[in-house]
Amino acid sequence: MNGVPLTWYLILSAVLFSLGIAGFLFRKNIITVFMSIELMLNAVNLTFVAFSFQLKQVNGHLFAFFVMVVAAAEAAVGLAIILTVFKNLSTLNIDEVNSMKN
C-alpha cells in the first residue's frame, strides 16, 4: 500500500480529541485542564489540515492558522486568570474554586 488512508488521520484526530476531553473531565489541576484544551485544539487542527489535503485547497490551512492565533490569545488570558486565581485563593485545585457557588 502506497499511502495512508485519510480516515486514519481523522481517527487519530478523534482519539486525540477524546484524550483532551478525558483530561478536561478527570483532572483537578487547573493548569492540566488548560493543557487538555490545547490538546483538543490541536486535534481539530489536524482535521482541518487533513481535509485541506483531500479537497486540494489551502483554506483548511488558514483555518488551522486562525485556530493557532486564537489559542495563543486564549493561553495568554487563561494563564493570567490562573495567576489571579492562585494569588487570591492560593490553590490550583479547581474543586476548591467555588466562590460563585455559595
Partner: protein, 166 residues
C-alpha cells in the same frame, strides 16, 4: 514509507496524549504535550502543510508551551493529590467518552471510505507563498480582526495579572 512514518508519529502522539492525561505533575504533562505537538507537526508535513508545520513548532511548541512552563514554575505547582474528580464524573464520563469515540470513528469510516490515499508530495499547495496569498486576499478581513483580538488579549492579560486590584 508513508505508512511507517504515519504509524511512528501517530503512536508517539497518542502515547504522549495519554501521558498528558495520566501524569500527576504538571511539568510532565507539559513536556508530553510538547511531544504531541512535535509529532503533529511531522504529520502536517506529510499532509503537505509546510507553513502550518513550521507555525506549529514555533507558535505552539515554542511560544505557548514556554508560557505554560513559565507559569508552572512561577506558581511552583506540585503533583496533585491522587484522589480524582467526583465519582459521578468517573462513572459516567468514561463510558460516555468511549461511546463518543466509537460513534465518531464509525461515522468517519462510513462517510469517508478509504478512497483518498495521503501520499507525501501529492499536495503542494501549503507553502508559505500559497498561504500568504490566500491570507492577504481572500481572508484579509479575518486577518485584520485577528490583530484586534490579539490586542484585546494582551490588554486583558495585563489587566488580570496586575499587582493588586484597588
Amino acid at each position: 514509507m508513508d505508512v511507517i512514518l504515519f504509524l511512528i508519529f501517530a503512536i508517539i502522539a497518542v502515547v504522549c496524549g495519554i501521558n498528558v492525561v495520566v501524569q500527576t505533575h504538571p511539568i510532565s504533562s507539559a513536556l508530553s504535550l510538547i511531544g504531541v505537538m512535535g509529532s503533529l507537526a511531522v504529520l502536517y508535513l506529510l499532509l503537505g502543510a509546510e507553513f502550518i508545520a513550521m507555525a506549529q513548532i514555533i507558535v505552539y511548541a515554542g511560544a505557548i508551551m514556554v508560557l505554560f512552563i513559565f507559569v508552572i514554575m512561577l506558581l511552583n505547582a506540585g503533583a496533585e493529590a491522587k484522589r480524582g474528580r467526583s465519582l459521578m464524573a468517573q462513572l459516567l464520563g468514561m463510558p460516555l467518552l468511549v461511546a463518543f469515540l466509537a460513534l465518531v470513528s464509525y461515522f468517519i469510516q462510513r462517510l469517508y471510505p478509504s478512497t483518498t490515499l495521503v501520499q507525501f508530495g501529492a499536495f503542494k499547495g501549503g507553502t508559505a507563498q500559497n498561504v500568504g496569498r490566500a491570507l492577504f486576499t481572500q481572508y484579509l478581513l479575518p486577518f485584520e480582526v485577528t490583530s484586534v483580538l490579539i490586542l484585546i488579549a494582551i490588554l486583558g492579560a495585563i489587566v488580570l495579572a496586575r499587582k493588586e486590584l484597588e
